[in-house]
C-alpha cells in the first residue's frame, strides 16, 4: 500500500475523544458508535498507565458493587473483570452457577433480582444462551449489564481489548487488513471483533473451513476466504480463534489433525505467507500445536500476553464509563 509519509503522520494524531458516553449497558459493539469506541480505548490507555505505579489502585468506583455472574465456566474473563473492578476500588462479588441457587431451580430473573437486592450496581454476565444479557437489561433497566459472553453471539470486551492492542501496536485501526482465522461459526469473539473493527474502518477477512464460517456473513461487511495461504498474504493482523471442541455438537471437520494441517498457523507458514510485521493475536486459552504453532505463540509477533494485560485496562474503562450518568 502506497501512503505518503504525511498521511502516516496524520494517522498517528488520535482524535480527541468526545465527552459524552450515553450507554448504561455494554451488550455488544454493534450499538456503539465510532466515537464511543474511541472514548473507551482512550480511557483504557489512561487506566493501563496505572499498572506502572507503585499503588495499582484507584478510588474511582469506591462504594460501587460489581457482581460477576457466570453461568459458564470462565477463569480468565472473570478474573480479568474481578481485577479491573478491584483496581477501581469497587466491591466485587462472584456468583458461579454451580454454587448458587440456580442449581436449586431458581429462575434467572429471580437470581438477578436477588443480586440487585444485595445492592449491585453492575452485573458482569456470562451465559450459554445468546441474548440473555439483553433480556436482563430490558427487564432490570436500573442496573448496568456487561455482556461477558453470551453463547455464540457476542463478547464485546474481548473485541475492545483486541482493538486496543492493535491500536497500541499500530497506532491506528482504520485501513488495516485484519484476518480472523478459524472457527467463526461458534465464535462470539469473531462477531464482536467484526462489529468493532468495521465501525473503526478496518478491513476484515474471515478465513476457515466452509463448515465453520456462517453462511451470509458477508452481510457484516467481511470478505470470506477458505485458503490459509491466500487469506494471510496482506494481513496486518491475524487473530486466531480457539477450536472450541466443547461447542461442537457435530463433526465440522474430519479430525483435529486435518484442521491443523489446513489451518494451523505454524512458524513456517507465518514466515512464508504473511507480512513480516503482522501481529498474531489469540483470545486464549490457546491449543498449542492445533490452531497455533508453539513457536508462533511465543514468537515476537505474538501479542497474546499483552492482550491479557490490556483486557484489565479495557474492562476498567468500561466499568468507569458505565458507572457515570448518561446526562
Amino acid at each position: 500500500m502506497a501512503s505518503s509519509p504525511t498521511s502516516q503522520r496524520e494517522a498517528k494524531v488520535r482524535p480527541k475523544p468526545v465527552a459524552g458516553f450515553a450507554h448504561r449497558h455494554l451488550l455488544d459493539l454493534d450499538v456503539l458508535s465510532r466515537e464511543d469506541i474511541e472514548r473507551i480505548l482512550h480511557d483504557a490507555a489512561g487506566f493501563k498507565d496505572v499498572f506502572t505505579r507503585t499503588v495499582k489502585k484507584l478510588p474511582t468506583l469506591r462504594g460501587k458493587t460489581v457482581v460477576n455472574l457466570f453461568f459458564e465456566n470462565s477463569t480468565r474473563t472473570r478474573t480479568s473483570f474481578e481485577l479491573a473492578a478491584k483496581r477501581l476500588s469497587a466491591d466485587v462479588l462472584n456468583f458461579a452457577v454451580s454454587t448458587s441457587s440456580v442449581a436449586k431451580g431458581e429462575s434467572l430473573l429471580d437470581t438477578v433480582r436477588t443480586i440487585r437486592a444485595l445492592g449491585a450496581d453492575v452485573i458482569v454476565m456470562r451465559h450459554g444462551s445468546a441474548g440473555t444479557p439483553h433480556l436482563l437489561a430490558e427487564r432490570l433497566p436500573n442496573l448496568s449489564i456487561i455482556n461477558a459472553g453470551d453463547g455464540c453471539h457476542a463478547h464485546p470486551t474481548q473485541g475492545l481489548l483486541d482493538m486496543f492492542t492493535i491500536l497500541e501496536k499500530r497506532e491506528r485501526i482504520e485501513g488495516l487488513q485484519v484476518v480472523i482465522l478459524g472457527d467463526i461459526l461458534h465464535s462470539r469473539v469473531a462477531r464482536s471483533n467484526i462489529w468493532g473493527l468495521r465501525t473503526m474502518g478496518a478491513k476484515v477477512r474471515v478465513v476457515g473451513p466452509k463448515t465453520l464460517i456462517p453462511r451470509g456473513i458477508e452481510a457484516m461487511g467481511v470478505e470470506v476466504c477458505h485458503d490459509l495461504r491466500e487469506g494471510l498474504q496482506d494481513a496486518d493482523v491475524i487473530n486466531i480463534l480457539r477450536i472450541q471442541r466443547e461447542r461442537m455438537t457435530q463433526n465440522f471437520f474430519p479430525s483435529i489433525r486435518e484442521y491443523t494441517l489446513l489451518y494451523g498457523l505454524t512458524e513456517e507458514r507465518l514466515r512464508q505467507w504473511a507480512k513480516p510485521d503482522a501481529l498474531v493475536m489469540h483470545p486464549g486459552p490457546i491449543n498449542r500445536g492445533i490452531e497455533i504453532g508453539q513457536a508462533v505463540a511465543d514468537g515476537p509477533q505474538s501479542t497474546i500476553e499483552e492482550q491479557v494485560t490490556n483486557g484489565v485496562a479495557v474492562r476498567m474503562a468500561v466499568l468507569y464509563l458505565l458507572c457515570g450518568g448518561s446526562e
Binding site: P17, G46, R53, K57, T60, G325
Partner: protein, 191 residues
C-alpha cells in the same frame, strides 16, 4: 468593569501581573526549600502544568532541567464522580522521576475548596512516598472545605462562592489574564 452577557467581569491580573506574581512564588519556594537537590515540580492539569513549567525556568534559569517537571491528572481521584453526569475524559499523568524521598511542589492556578489538592495528594502518593509535598498557587480565592493551605500564593482574593476566577494562560488559552466573574443576580425579564 466590563459586561459580557449577564456576567460582570473584573480584571484581577494582566500578563505583567502574572509574570511578576510567578517571580514572587518562585522566591517563596526558594526560601522554603533552600536548595533544589531533591525538588520536583508537578503541575495539576490543565493550567497548573504551564505554571509549573514557568516556575521551573524561574527557579533555575541557567539549567531548568535540573528540576524535574511532572504533570498530574486527578480525574480518577475526584470525590464527585457520581451518577450526576457523564464521566470526565481521563488526561495524561506523567511523573518522569522517582517520587520516593523527593520534595514535591504541587502547582495549580486557583485554590478554592481544596478538593482538587486533596485528590492530587492521593494521586501523588500512589506513585510513592515523597519526603514532603508543598503547594504553590497563582490565586487563593478562599472558601476551603478541607484543611489544606498553600505554601506559596500569588494573589489572595475575597470572593463570593458563586463568583468564578477565570485564569487564561498563553499555553492553554492563547491569552494571558486573570478575571473575576460575577453572575448578574437579577437577569433581565424575558421580552
Amino acid at each position: 468593569m466590563r459586561d459580557s452577557g449577564h456576567t460582570r467581569s473584573q480584571r484581577l491580573m494582566s500578563p505583567e501581573d502574572i509574570e511578576r506574581t510567578l517571580r514572587g512564588i518562585a522566591r517563596g519556594i526558594a526560601e522554603i526549600e533552600g536548595g533544589f537537590d531533591d525538588l520536583a515540580l508537578v503541575g495539576i492539569r490543565r493550567r497548573g502544568v504551564p505554571l509549573a513549567q514557568r516556575l521551573q525556568h524561574l527557579l533555575s534559569p541557567s539549567r531548568p532541567d535540573a528540576i524535574p517537571l511532572g504533570q498530574l491528572d486527578i480525574t480518577l481521584y475526584r470525590d464527585d464522580l457520581s451518577s450526576l453526569g457523564p464521566q470526565p475524559i481521563i488526561g495524561p499523568t506523567d511523573l518522569p522521576f522517582d517520587v520516593d524521598g523527593r520534595t514535591i511542589v504541587l502547582v495549580d492556578d486557583v485554590i478554592f475548596t481544596g478538593r482538587t489538592v486533596r485528590a492530587a495528594l492521593e494521586a501523588l502518593v500512589s506513585y510513592g512516598r515523597p519526603h514532603a509535598v508543598r503547594l504553590a498557587v497563582l490565586v487563593d480565592r478562599g472558601h476551603r472545605e478541607y484543611p489544606i493551605q498553600p505554601d506559596a500564593v500569588g494573589l489572595r482574593v475575597e470572593t463570593d462562592p458563586n463568583q468564578v476566577i477565570e485564569v487564561r494562560l498563553t499555553e492553554t488559552d492563547g491569552q494571558e489574564c486573570v478575571d473575576l466573574l460575577t453572575p448578574d443576580p437579577s437577569p433581565p425579564t424575558e421580552a
